[in-house]
């Protein structure tokens, strides 16, 4: 086997499912939105919920506006008698990381990971201000688009991109998303007015609701459950200082270090699924990951086509894995982000066995 694992156990993504991502889902509670996705991902493997070794989810009470909202969605798993379960108040990609660690410890052979978010009940731009430093930032209510725009202007000033190039990123993403039946925004979308200059509507993600789920399995279990498992040969996440003024916003050292630790640079990748909710962030990530022109970046359309907050990062891992499952990729890098201006970044390398 060409792959070399740097970890105790071989762990693979063996199944991936996601909802259609929609601007509103008022007719569905969170559990009603999540449950069909859980059923789909389990059906891909033939596993029943009770046969899963560990379950981990990612979501945010601030999106739902309710404390402990994840306990309600756990109803959709079938968590009685009590299952081995955990939750992160983060994107589902970090739930996947916890599940991967759990399998590495030997305490589980399989894991169900899901992430979901309904941005429609509230104003997500304002909701996300509550994740900021409460002393110096949150009292100013700098919204998520404003902070991304500061980063975009820094990139323009540094000569790393311009508005035309940024528009092309959005256009390419939505054109590619035309082949993705789950995407929210596809095809030709007007670049629109400035939301916060230099970012226009087309540089920003659609706001919507959605869910995604992944099943992880170790070694021979993975081989049994999936024709071509997407082996996670490396995974790491790093965070930068939360003071925006301390950072070089045109670079992402946390992504680069996570990528080094995950082994991205030890061989070529053919696919990159990047969690870049803003067009300008793709510029930063391409540089940090050293992606050349031969790499298919966000063939799913990425977060510019569907950005269900708390699921969009997990979806990047799922989409990269699904391409390996389908034989469309042999070595892919998947990335998830959290916080303002790419503050925290997770990088995973996914590989398929030789065909």
């Amino acid at each position: 086997m060409a792959r070399t694992s740097r970890h105790a156990r071989e762990v693979a993504v063996v199944a991936f499912a996601q909802s259609d991502h929609l601007r509103r889902t008022d007719e569905l509670s969170e559990v009603e939105m999540v449950m069909p996705v859980l059923h789909q991902v389990l059906a891909q493997t033939g596993l029943k919920a009770g046969e899963i070794g560990f379950t981990c989810s990612g979501s945010s009470d601030y999106l739902a506006g309710r404390a402990f909202s994840f306990t309600m969605t756990l109803d959709g798993v079938g968590a009685w008698p009590p299952i081995s379960e955990s939750h992160v108040e983060m994107d589902g990609a970090w739930a996947l990381y916890e599940a991967w660690v759990k399998i590495q410890t030997g305490e589980a052979d399989t894991a169900l990971v899901y992430g979901y978010g309904k941005s429609s009940p509230g104003s997500v731009r304002d909701v996300l201000t509550r994740q900021l430093d409460p002393y110096y930032l949150a009292p100013l209510w700098p919204d998520s688009v404003a902070l991304a725009a500061l980063q975009a202007q820094a990139l323009v000033d540094a000569g790393e991109t311009d508005e035309e190039a940024l528009a092309a990123i959005g256009a390419r993403s939505r054109a590619d998303a035309a082949a993705n039946p789950h995407a929210q925004l596809t095809g030709t979308v007007p670049q629109g007015d400035y939301l916060v200059a230099p970012l226009r509507t087309g540089d920003c993600p659609p706001i919507g609701d959605g869910a995604a789920a992944v099943i992880l399995a170790a070694g021979d279990t993975a081989r049994r459950l999936c024709g071509r498992p997407a082996w996670i040969t490396g995974i790491d996440h790093r965070i930068e200082a939360h003071g925006l003024g301390l950072r070089d916003l045109t670079d992402s050292p946390s992504t680069r270090i996570a990528a080094e630790q995950a082994g991205v640079f030890e061989g070529p990748v053919d696919t990159a699924e990047l969690h870049a909710p803003f067009s300008s962030q793709e510029v930063v990530l391409r540089k940090a990951l050293g992606l050349g022109d031969g790499v298919a970046v966000n063939p799913s359309g990425g977060a510019l086509a569907a950005n269900p907050v708390m699921a969009a990062g997990l979806i990047r891992i799922g989409e990269a894995a699904a391409r390996i499952h389908r034989g469309e990729s042999d070595r892919a890098v998947a990335h998830a982000t959290s916080g303002p201006c790419l503050q925290q970044n997770l990088v995973a390398v996914l590989e398929g066995d030789p065909r």
């Binding site: 259609d20 939105m33 110096y136 404003a146 916060v196 301390l246």
Partner: protein, 322 residues
């Protein structure tokens, strides 16, 4: 999305407010008290850089840092973003630029708003100065915003001057006010439940796998992890399975204490819901008591439950529902 849409989706405003009271460390206290006094302080990091706004710990080494310095109220924009449509609570109500500003004497940038007539008046590298708020309390909003400033850094401001960070009546905490407004929709199952209640019916949903009837239904059977589908009218009468006596009067609740709050298994339900028991002295309520709902005019749910007068239920009849 498999669930069928009900004819009417319910919506209700949901307001979440959380005025957290946060204490300050010595560095943050000095910085925010300094703002109140019209002085901008930074802190020197382990490698000698001046960080504004300052933190308690070195962002690289995590060492405790306490070496305060005073920097100028003038500085240079390092990046900016024009905000044509200010949102609630943001520093200015008219269009403005978000800016990161490195103050003269500092090595790092501070985020704030810049009051400028339009995006054509803003550029990276432009000189700005603090516009102080009229009323200052020791908060980041004591800086009302930045405003354009003609003139290079004064020689006197080029370096940061040591400062002991001592002020009379130092600020030791902040109240971080926050309010988020949502429009809540309860989803298919709970919408059906609430709509039925409006007709004074209690309608649960049955799990197609284990047959348990959930009241109120939430759309999924937590044991089986499948959608509850069949609607089942339960009650109206039920059995008290357990209860407590409430002795503390809740704010905004016009009910005399003591009163009884109980778990009530409505006839046909697979689990108990909870409600207040009235129409009987509080010290006569007991497990097994048979009760029925009491509705008030215009109420969307039972106001409380009262005894039916039937004999008490056998323990065996409800022991699985406790």
């Amino acid at each position: 999305m498999t669930a069928a849409s009900p004819p009417d989706v319910l919506r209700a405003p949901l307001v979440v407010e959380f005025p957290f009271t946060r204490s300050l460390g010595p560095v943050q206290s000095a910085f925010l008290t300094g703002l109140r006094e019209g002085v901008v302080l930074g802190v020197r990091t382990s490698d000698g850089k001046v960080m504004v706004p300052p933190t308690e710990y070195d962002p690289v080494t995590a060492e405790e840092i306490r070496d305060l310095v005073e920097v100028a109220a003038t500085g240079t924009v390092t990046t900016w973003a024009w905000n044509p449509a200010p949102r609630p609570n943001q520093p200015l109500a008219t269009p403005f630029a978000w800016v990161l500003v490195t103050l003269d004497g500092a090595d790092t940038a501070i985020l704030h708003a810049l009051d400028a007539p339009g995006p054509a008046a803003v550029r990276t590298g432009m000189r700005v100065r603090v516009r102080w708020a009229a009323d200052r309390i020791g908060a980041i909003t004591d800086i009302a915003c930045f405003e354009p400033h003609e003139g290079a850094a004064d020689a006197a401001d080029a370096g940061a001057a040591p400062h002991d960070g001592v002020f009379a009546d130092a600020v030791t905490g902040i109240v971080a006010e926050a309010r988020l407004d949502y429009t809540y929709s309860p989803g298919r199952a709970q919408t059906a439940y609430i709509n039925a209640l409006a007709e004074r019916k209690t309608v649960g949903e049955r799990c197609p796998s284990c047959r348990k009837v959930y009241v109120p239904p939430r759309g999924a059977c937590p044991t089986c992890g499948v959608a509850t589908t069949d609607q089942v009218e339960v009650g109206p009468a039920g059995t008290v399975t357990t209860y407590c006596i409430v002795n503390i009067k809740a704010r905004n609740l016009d009910i005399e204490v003591p009163y009884v709050y109980a778990h009530i298994a409505l006839d046909g339900a697979g689990l108990a819901l909870h409600g207040r028991i009235g129409g009987i002295p509080y010290d006569q309520v007991r497990m097994g008591l048979r009760v029925e709902p009491v509705w008030t005019e215009g109420g969307r749910h039972p106001d409380h439950y009262r005894p039916t007068g039937e004999p008490d239920a056998d323990y065996d009849a409800y022991k699985e529902l406790i």
